[in-house]
Amino acid sequence: MKILVVDDFSTMRRIIKNLLRDLGFNNTDEADDGLTALPMLKTGKYDLLVTDWNMPGMQGIDLLKAVRADESLQNIPVLMVTAEQKKEQIVEAAQAGVNGYIVKPFTALILKEKLEKIFARIG
C-alpha cells in the first residue's frame, strides 16, 4: 500500500505521514500541490491519494477532477483533508468523486475511521 500525501504545508504533510505510519502505512510520498502530485500519480505507484484543498498551483479539487478524468487513475481512492468547511465545497468534492472528506483540525481516530471506511468499500 503506497500513499501520496499532498499539502502545501510541510508540517501538515509530516503530521499526516506520522499518523499514517502509526496506522501501519509506512510507504508514503509527499507532494506540495496538485501540479507536482499529478505526474507522480501517473507513474501508477500509488494506491491512495490524501490531499488538501487550498494549495497554490493546482488545488486539491482540481487534482481530484484530473484524477477522475484520467483513465489509469480514475479508480484510485481519494481522501480530502482540508480546512474548507463550506457546504457547497463539500458537495462539490462529493460530486467530483471524493471517497472521504476530513475537516481540519482532525484527530488520529477520524483518519483511521475514514481510511477503514474507504478500504471496506473498495474491498
Binding site: 506520522n18 474548507e84 468547511q85 457546504k87 463539500i90 476530513i102 475537516v103
Partner: protein
C-alpha cells in the same frame, strides 16, 4: 450659504427706496451710486462666507496633515506589521518542525522498547512455567541485558519531550505580536473612518457579499461563516445525506 435676513435691513430698504426715487426722476448718477453701494454690501457678505469656508477647509486639511500618524501608518506601521506577521509564520513553522522532529525521534525508541518488553514478558512467562530450555534461557538473559541497555535511550526521549515543551514558547511570542497587529488594524480603521467623514462620502455600505469563488480557509471563531459545517460530524451527516 447667505443669511438673507442680513440683506433685508432697514438701511438696505431705505437704499432701495432711494434707488427707485432716483430712477423715476432720471437721476442716473445717484442711482448708479446706490447700486454700487448695494453690490459692495452683497460682495462683502459673499467674501466673508467664502473666507469662512476657506478657513474651515484649511483647518480640516491642516489638522489632517498635522496628524501625520496616517503617513506614519502607511510608511512604517503597515510594512512593520507585515514583517511581524511573517515572523509569526516563521516562529510557528519553527516550533512545529522542532516538535515533529522530536516526536519522529521518540516514536521508534518507544516502539522498540515496547516490542522488546512484550517479547521479554512472553519469555519470562515461559521461564516461570519452567518451559524454557537452557539455551533459551541464555538467549533470554542476553535479551534482558539488551533491554536494560536500550532503556538508557529513555533519557533521550525525556530530552525530546523537553524540546517539545520549550517549542511551545512560540505561543507567547506570536500572541504578543498578533496583539500589536490587532491594535494597529484598529488604528487604521479609525483613520479610514476619519478620512471617509472628511471627504463627506456616504457611510460605507455594510459589508459587500464576499466572492463565493474564494476559499475561506480555516473557520475563525467569532467570525460568521455562511453555509458552513462545524466539525467532522456535520461533514459526515452532509455526505451521508448525499448518499455516501
Amino acid at each position: 450659504m447667505f443669511e438673507d435676513k442680513e440683506l433685508i435691513t432697514d438701511d438696505n430698504i431705505a437704499r432701495v427706496k432711494d434707488l427707485l426715487v432716483c430712477m423715476e426722476k432720471g437721476n442716473e448718477e445717484d442711482a448708479i451710486e446706490i447700486i454700487d453701494e448695494l453690490t459692495t454690501i452683497r460682495e462683502t457678505e459673499l467674501y466673508q462666507d467664502m473666507g469662512k469656508l476657506t478657513r474651515e477647509l484649511h483647518d480640516a486639511i491642516s489638522n489632517f496633515g498635522i496628524d501625520d500618524s496616517i503617513s506614519k501608518l502607511a510608511e512604517k506601521s503597515i510594512p512593520d506589521a507585515r514583517e511581524r506577521l511573517n515572523y509569526v509564520i516563521s516562529k510557528t513553522d519553527e516550533a512545529a518542525n522542532q516538535t515533529l522532529e522530536a516526536i519522529e525521534e521518540s516514536i521508534p525508541i518507544c516502539d522498540n522498547l515496547n516490542n522488546q518488553a512484550l517479547e521479554l514478558h512472553d519469555s519470562w512467562k515461559k521461564f516461570t512455567n519452567r518451559e524454557l530450555s537452557a539455551d533459551e534461557f541464555r538467549t533470554l538473559s542476553r535479551e534482558i541485558t539488551e533491554f536494560f541497555d536500550n532503556t538508557q535511550k529513555l533519557s533521550s526521549v525525556k530530552g525530546y519531550l523537553t524540546t517539545v515543551l520549550l517549542a511551545q514558547e512560540y505561543q507567547d511570542l506570536t500572541g504578543q505580536i498578533i496583539k500589536k497587529v490587532i491594535t494597529l488594524v484598529g488604528e487604521v480603521e479609525d483613520k479610514l473612518v476619519g478620512l471617509v467623514q472628511l471627504t463627506g462620502a456616504p457611510q460605507v455600505k455594510k459589508e459587500t457579499e464576499s466572492e463565493s469563488a474564494s476559499l475561506d480557509g480555516p473557520p475563525v471563531p467569532g467570525i460568521a461563516h455562511k453555509d458552513t459545517v462545524s466539525g467532522q460530524d456535520e461533514v459526515d451527516d452532509l455526505l451521508s445525506s448525499l448518499g455516501f
